[in-house]
């Protein structure tokens, strides 16, 4: 039996950025399907995929126009709070695939859905209908923008003149392209924002679909004069969502929101600043100082409370569990390589990392090699992961759902909540959770 393929950080650093082994690259081979890759294969099965993301628009519903297989797991989301009567389906058959006739049925289907909701007790006319299409229409070259316009015309004729219709593209085929689905869906969502009078004290955080929680970031923005901070995940009414167009600045906390921020810069003249989620306290500090410099206002000391919390959490963990060895996965709210490097810099050990490596992340591999050359890097997708041998690991605690899957017998922190951690607060919360799990394990 072949063992699961892995490389040490030292081996990778020697071979270099341009020679990353194919086993560690995304999309180079077959993708092994295990619970550790579920979030990669099917982002909607855990957290936010395109369907749930598009429904972040308050008071919206979705019509999924696709073969039945594409909507099958939507049952999971449909049963979650807040998603009742929000998913509808127009199922494609083989004739649709050949003739494209399903597209002519979409306006009628949208009208029927809106009319149905209008008459349904406890529902009401939706403010937006998101039409979700999938790989099949990607290959057919469907112009869904045009179909969406036809839907709006049909709705106007039916008396629903305020309901917007927007396409969203669940094109798994393009996940490693220039505009992958999770980038595109953000562009779609924010394309609904109208031109508004600017409020110099209003700022948007564009990141995930659930809120980003960081008291330190909020404090710094407050100290720079931004008193109204909006983010999609906090907003429950469509009219309030529209007010995001008033912002005089967008803060991008997830690279997948960059294209949407650029669209808003061009269309609504809202500039943006991009921040990266990191778990290295020094980097967090440097990033906040750069932000203050870019804004021309703000007080670095306003983040003091959370900075001290993070320092205390690190100190407490180091004192109580100084020899802690981590296994770090990529199914968590962190860049697995950056988090591992940060943990090593804090004085801990990282025995395994489970992640595909993008050449842009290689800087972390190189630095890890200097400090922890024997750290082993596996790729969840690699076929030989079916033979992964947990007994080879010496980790005491895992971070990430995938790392938990591979290391079932040790303390585990999944760290993959919908709500997004950020900054010092994120670092403090993570280390506190690790401490708590290790305490439980040692009892």
């Amino acid at each position: 039996m072949n063992r699961a393929v892995s490389y040490t950080a030292g081996e990778l650093a020697v071979s270099g950025r341009d020679n990353i082994p194919s086993e560690l690259l995304s999309g180079a081979g077959l993708v092994y399907s295990s619970p550790a890759t579920l979030a990669y294969n099917s982002p909607g099965a855990e957290g936010y995929g395109v369907k749930r993301a598009a429904l972040s628009v308050p008071e919206s519903v979705m019509l999924i126009v696709a073969p039945g297989c594409c909507g099958r797991n939507t049952s999971l989301v449909s049963n979650m709070p807040g998603y009742r009567n929000r998913f509808f389906y127009l199922l494609m058959d083989e004739t649709d695939l050949v003739t494209g006739r399903h597209l002519t049925k979409v306006p009628e289907a949208v009208s029927e859905v809106v009319s149905f909701l209008d008459g349904l007790e406890g529902a009401g006319v939706p403010k937006a209908v998101m039409i979700c299409i999938t790989c099949v229409d990607a290959l057919l070259g469907t112009d869904m923008e045009r179909v969406a316009r036809s839907c709006e015309t049909a709705l106007r004729e039916a008396g629903y003149k305020d309901t917007r219709v927007k396409p969203c593209y669940m094109y798994a085929l393009t996940r490693e392209g220039n505009r992958p689905p999770m980038v595109h869906v953000r562009q779609t969502i924010y394309s609904l924002l109208p031109e508004c009078r600017k409020d110099p004290q209003a700022v948007n955080i564009l990141g995930s679909f659930a809120p980003t929680r960081s008291d330190d970031l909020v404090s710094i923005l407050n100290s720079a004069g931004y008193k109204t901070i909006r983010q999609l995940g906090d907003i429950t009414a469509y009219d309030e969502f529209m007010k995001m167009g008033e912002a005089s600045l967008n803060i991008v906390t997830n690279p997948e929101a960059r294209a949407a921020a650029e669209d808003l810069r061009v269309r609504l003249n809202i500039p943006y600043v991009e921040l990266t989620r990191v778990y290295d306290a020094e980097k967090i500090d440097r990033q906040y100082r750069s932000l203050i410099k870019a804004l021309g206002a703000g007080d670095i000391n306003s983040a003091e409370e959370q900075r001290d919390r993070a320092r205390s959490a690190a100190e407490k963990l180091r004192q109580q569990f100084p020899e802690t060895v981590f296994a770090v996965g990529s199914c968590c709210n962190a860049d697995a390589l950056e988090l591992s490097l940060s943990l090593v810099r804090m004085g801990f050990k990282v025995s395994e990392i489970y992640t595909a490596i993008d050449p842009a992340q290689f800087v972390y591999v190189r630095k890890l090699a200097e400090l922890s050359g024997n750290t082993r890097i596996y790729c969840n997708m690699e076929p030989t992961m079916i033979n992964y041998d947990v007994s080879a690991s010496c980790a005491h605690v895992s971070v990430g759902k995938d790392a938990q899957y591979y290391n079932p017998g040790i303390a585990g922190v999944s760290w993959n909540s919908d709500v997004q951690p950020f900054g010092y607060q994120g670092l403090a919360d993570l280390l506190t959770q690790v401490y708590d799990r290790l305490r439980e394990e040692h009892r």
Binding site: N41, R72, L91, M92, E112, C135, A172, P383, T384
Partner: protein
């Protein structure tokens, strides 16, 4: 409106049915998709997946692979995996992407068989049909590929039960091994435990009886009364009908020989016009008939609601 679903979520598709039959047989199962179909199959339709390993892979197709029809790349990925993983066979399972680009499965099979020393079966599912069709296709492919092999001695032939996968039977499914498909000939008597079992027996020319053990508990004294409607799998319906002494009508979303339901409205109309006293069906169908006030015997069907028995 045909194809429009306002209440029910889509049912288990053919590709999930195919994988359900192939799971735990020891093969390398390659779902020819970009990842989402594999995620749906494993993360939703395959209850065994969380607790037992099976070599299921996504082909990891990207747009240019599909547009340019890079079959050689797919074959090289499969060969690379087959070289490093122990397996009894390779199964290629279709999805909407190969259906759209008209992938030549026979060519894939031939190309692979030249490069690896394993049997290769292909199942041309397309994600648009239902799970029973995919299961039937998988049974047919397995029987055709392995029926010429010598049946292991001591195997009790009367135990050949087709169609008892988790998609119909939930946790009460009956596990099979690849040897179960060895040496199957027309002399073997099979039990068709679901729609796919019935169809597989038909297409493979096997003698069979229809029996769905899972349905027995629903026929117990006192559970059913008056005019009964059963909406479930075809074998489930037939089993209840054969045991119930009163009037019993059966219909199914997965039927070939019974009254076939396709749309939500078909079920609504059937109940409105049928005058039934008892309905035996998955309770997720109840919102479609708010006017119905008779008895409802909940018979979860995983392929419909995703609820396990």
């Amino acid at each position: 409106m045909k194809g429009l679903r306002k209440c029910l979520t889509p049912f288990a598709p053919d590709q999930s049915g195919a994988v359900s039959v192939l799971y735990e047989l020891g093969g390398i199962i390659v779902v020819v998709d970009a990842g989402g179909c594999t995620g749906n199959i494993c993360g939703f339709d395959e209850p065994r997946w969380q607790n037992s390993k099976s070599a299921i892979f996504s082909a990891g197709l990207r747009d240019m692979d599909a547009i340019l029809g890079r079959d050689r790349l797919l074959v090289s990925k499969i060969v690379s995996a087959a070289d490093r993983i122990e397996a009894r066979f390779v199964a290629i399972v279709g999805t909407p992407v190969p259906a759209t680009i008209a992938t030549d499965y026979k060519a894939l099979k031939r190309m692979l068989e030249k490069q690896i020393d394993l049997p290769v079966i292909t199942i041309e599912t397309n994600g648009m049909r239902l799970y029973d069709v995919g299961e039937t296709m998988a049974y047919k492919a397995l029987i055709e590929e392995f029926r010429d092999r010598e049946r292991p001695s001591g195997r009790n032939d009367s135990k050949l039960i087709l169609g008892a996968t988790p998609l119909t039977y939930g946790n009460s499914y009956l596990p099979m091994t690849i040897e179960d498909y060895y040496g199957i000939d027309s002399g073997i008597e099979a039990v068709a435990a679901s729609t796919s079992g019935i169809e597989a027996c038909k297409v493979c020319g096997l003698k069979y009886t229809v029996e769905c053990n899972m349905a027995h508990e629903y026929c117990e004294e006192g559970r059913l009364r008056g005019r009964v409607l059963v909406v479930h799998d075809e074998a489930f319906g037939l089993t209840v009908k054969n045991r119930y002494k009163g009037y019993c009508e059966t219909a199914s979303f997965f039927a070939h020989g019974q009254r076939r339901l396709d749309e939500e409205d078909d079920f609504t109309r059937l109940v409105r016009e049928g005058g039934f006293d008892t309905i035996v069906a998955d309770s997720c169908l109840a919102p479609l008939v708010p006017f119905y006030h008779g008895a409802w015997v909940d018979a979860p069907c995983f392929a419909i609601s995703g609820r396990l028995l």
